[in-house]
C-alpha cells in the first residue's frame, strides 16, 4: 500500500456521504470526506422530512444533539383546485415518542452537524474542494482528482447527489433524462415561533408536514410541500421536467401562483423570505438505477436515485442513509478481505436488496408512474371539491342524498367509470 493512500474517499458530505464516513471511521478506517461547498450542507436542500429510524440505528438518540427543527406529529395531504382545497389531516401523539417518526431539518445546519459526527469519529473532512473526476488504473477506480491533484484510495464512494458527475465520469451513468427528473423549488420563510404554533395547531416541538397535489403545479405532474421548522416554514414545489418543457412553463411562476393560492397564502402571511433555492430531484425509481458498484467505486443516495413519493410521504434522506450504511458495511467486508473488485463489491446491491431501501423502492416502483397520472392533478381534485361543495351548499333548493349527488358529479366530471376503476386499482397497488 502506498503511504498516502486512504482506505476510502467519500465525495459529497450530504447525509449519505457523512453517514458512510461516520460508519467507516468508527470502524477505524482512514477516511477522507470531500465537500465542494464551504461547509457541509451549504449546497443541499431538504425536500422532505427526515424519517430518522435508520439514523437512530447508526447514531442512537441523534435528536438529542442534532439540530432538528420539529418532530412531525401532523401529516397532511392536500388536494387543490384553483379555488378550493381538501385536506386529510392526521395528527397523532404516538409520533411524538422516542425514537420519533420524523423530523423537519434544515440541511445547512443538519448536514454540518452530521459531518462533524463523522469528523469526531475520525474521518478527515475537507470542505471547499470540488472533485473533478475519478482516477482509474487498469479499469479500476483508484482515487480522485481535485484542483489538479490526485488523491488515492482503495475505494471511492460517490455521494455527490442527483447530478452525480462522479458516476458519469466513471461511466456508470449518463446525465438524467428529463423524463426521470423533477426540479424542486423552495423558499424558507421566517415567522415567529408562536405564529407557527398557532397557525398550524402545534404545541412545543410538534411539527406539521403537508403534501400537496393538484392545482399546486398548474396540472403539471408534481406536487407541493410545506413543513414547519422552529421559526420558519419550508415551502416548495417539485415539478416534473418532461411536462414542464412540453408546456413551456416557468417553475418560478408556477411557484408564485402556488404561494398565492387561497389555501397557502394565509399560512405564509407576514413571513419573511429567508432563502430561495432549487435542486434536482431524481424521480426515475427503479427504471433509472445505474450499476451500484464498479471496481473500486460505490454509488449512494441521490447519485443512485433513491427516493419514494407515494402522495402521502416524500422520502429521500432515510433511503440515502440506508444506502450509505449498506455501502459502508460492504467496504468494511472488502477491507477485511483486501479486495475491492466489482465482484466483491456486489455484496452492496445484495445488502440493499435485503434492507428496506431496495424493498421500498420495489414496493413503490409503480408509484412513480401513477403519480404522473394527469387525472390526479386536475380531474380528481375538481371532482372531490365539486362533490363537497354540493354536500355543503345550502341554497334553498331541494337536496339529494349522497349516492345521486356522487353520480351527478361523476357524470359532470366526464371521467369514464372504467378509468376511475383502473385508477383506483392502480393507486391501491402503487401507493
Amino acid at each position: 500500500m502506498a503511504e498516502d493512500e486512504f482506505d476510502a474517499i467519500i465525495v459529497g458530505a450530504g447525509v449519505a456521504g457523512s453517514s458512510a464516513a461516520y460508519r467507516l471511521a468508527k470502524a477505524g478506517l482512514q477516511v477522507v470526506l470531500i465537500e465542494r461547498g464551504p461547509y457541509p450542507g451549504s449546497k443541499n436542500l431538504s425536500g422532505g422530512v427526515l424519517y430518522g429510524r435508520v439514523l437512530h440505528d447508526l447514531i442512537p438518540n441523534f435528536w438529542e444533539s442534532a439540530p432538528v427543527e420539529r418532530v412531525i406529529t401532523n401529516q397532511v395531504v392536500s388536494f387543490l383546485t384553483a379555488d378550493s382545497s381538501i385536506n386529510l389531516d392526521f395528527k397523532t401523539e404516538t409520533f411524538n415518542q422516542p425514537p420519533y417518526n420524523g423530523f423537519t431539518v434544515l440541511r445547512a445546519r443538519f448536514d454540518r452537524w452530521l459531518a462533524e459526527q463523522a469528523e469526531a469519529a475520525g474521518a478527515m473532512l475537507v470542505p471547499g474542494i470540488k472533485v473533478d473526476g475519478v482516477v482509474k488504473r487498469n479499469g479500476k477506480v483508484v482515487g480522485i482528482t481535485a484542483a489538479g491533484e490526485e488523491m488515492q484510495a482503495k475505494v471511492v464512494i460517490a455521494a455527490d447527489g442527483a447530478n452525480s458527475f462522479i458516476a458519469q465520469n466513471a461511466g456508470l451513468r449518463d446525465k438524467i433524462p428529463p423524463g426521470q427528473a423533477a426540479v424542486g423549488v423552495k423558499e424558507v420563510i421566517g415567522l415567529p415561533r408562536e405564529v407557527i404554533e398557532e397557525r398550524f395547531h402545534l404545541s412545543g416541538n410538534e411539527g406539521a408536514a403537508y403534501n400537496i397535489v393538484g392545482y399546486a403545479t398548474r396540472g403539471v405532474p408534481g406536487g407541493g410541500f410545506l413543513y414547519t421548522n422552529r421559526e420558519s416554514l419550508s415551502i416548495g414545489l417539485v415539478i416534473h421536467l418532461e411536462a414542464l418543457v412540453e408546456r413551456e412553463l416557468k417553475p418560478a411562476e408556477i411557484f408564485e401562483d402556488f404561494l398565492a393560492h387561497p389555501m397557502i397564502a394565509p399560512l405564509i402571511k407576514g413571513g419573511k423570505v429567508l432563502e430561495y433555492g432549487a435542486h434536482l430531484v431524481p424521480e426515475g425509481g427503479l427504471k433509472m438505477m445505474p450499476p451500484l458498484a464498479a471496481d473500486g467505486l460505490l454509488l449512494v443516495g441521490d447519485a443512485v436515485g433513491f427516493g419514494v413519493n407515494n402522495g402521502f410521504v416524500v422520502r429521500g434522506m432515510d433511503l440515502a442513509i440506508g444506502s450509505a450504511v449498506a455501502a459502508a458495511e460492504t467496504v468494511l467486508e472488502a477491507h477485511a478481505a483486501d479486495d475491492f473488485s466489482a465482484v466483491r463489491l456486489q455484496s452492496y446491491p445484495a445488502r440493499l436488496e435485503k434492507s428496506f431501501v431496495m424493498q421500498d423502492m420495489r414496493t413503490y416502483a409503480r408509484a412513480v408512474d401513477f403519480m404522473k397520472n394527469e387525472r390526479l392533478f386536475e380531474t380528481y381534485p375538481a371532482l372531490l371539491s365539486n362533490l363537497l361543495a354540493d354536500i355543503y351548499r345550502q341554497d334553498a333548493q331541494p337536496k339529494k342524498n349522497l349516492a345521486p349527488t356522487l353520480l351527478k358529479n361523476l357524470k359532470a366530471s366526464k371521467i369514464s367509470l372504467l378509468d376511475l376503476l383502473k385508477d383506483a386499482l392502480a393507486g391501491g397497488r402503487a401507493l
Binding site: 465542494r36 461547498g37 464551504p38 450542507g41 451549504s42 449546497k43 443541499n44 436542500l45 431538504s46 434544515l106 440541511r107 445547512a108 445546519r109 443538519f110 448536514d111 470542505p127 471547499g128 474542494i129 470540488k130 481535485a146 484542483a147 442527483a162 447530478n163 458527475f165 446525465k175 438524467i176 433524462p177 428529463p178 427528473a181 426540479v183 424542486g184 423549488v185 423558499e187 424558507v188 420558519s232 419550508s234 421536467l241 414542464l244 418543457v245 413551456e248 412553463l249 416557468k250 417553475p251 418560478a252 411557484f255 408564485e256 404561494l259 398565492a260 397564502a265 405564509i268 402571511k269 407576514g270 423570505v273 429567508l274 432563502e275 430561495y276 433555492g277 432549487a278 435542486h279 434536482l280
Partner: protein, 94 residues
Amino acid sequence: MNRLPVPEKLAVNKYELDEGHPHIVVNEEVCRAKCKNLACLYVCPANVYSEQNGKIMADWAGCLECGTCLVTCPSDALQWVYPRGGFGVIYRSG
C-alpha cells in the same frame, strides 16, 4: 401579500462569486444550429438565461446549481459544471 420577483429572491441568498470563472458556458453555434425550443429560457428557477440580440446569455452569478438546464437542454449546447470549490450559492438554511 407582496411577493418577491426572482431577482429579489436571489438577492436574499448568499453567494461567493468566483469572478472571472464562469461555470456555465453557452455554445452559441450549437444553440442556433440544433435547438428548437430553447428550454433554458423558461426551465431555470433562477432565470439565469436570457436572449439578448438573438444570443443566449447566462447570468451565471445567480445560479442555484440545480442542473435543470443541463438535463433539459435538448442540444447539448451547455457546458455546465459546478463552480470551483467554495464558490457559488451558499445555503444558510437549506
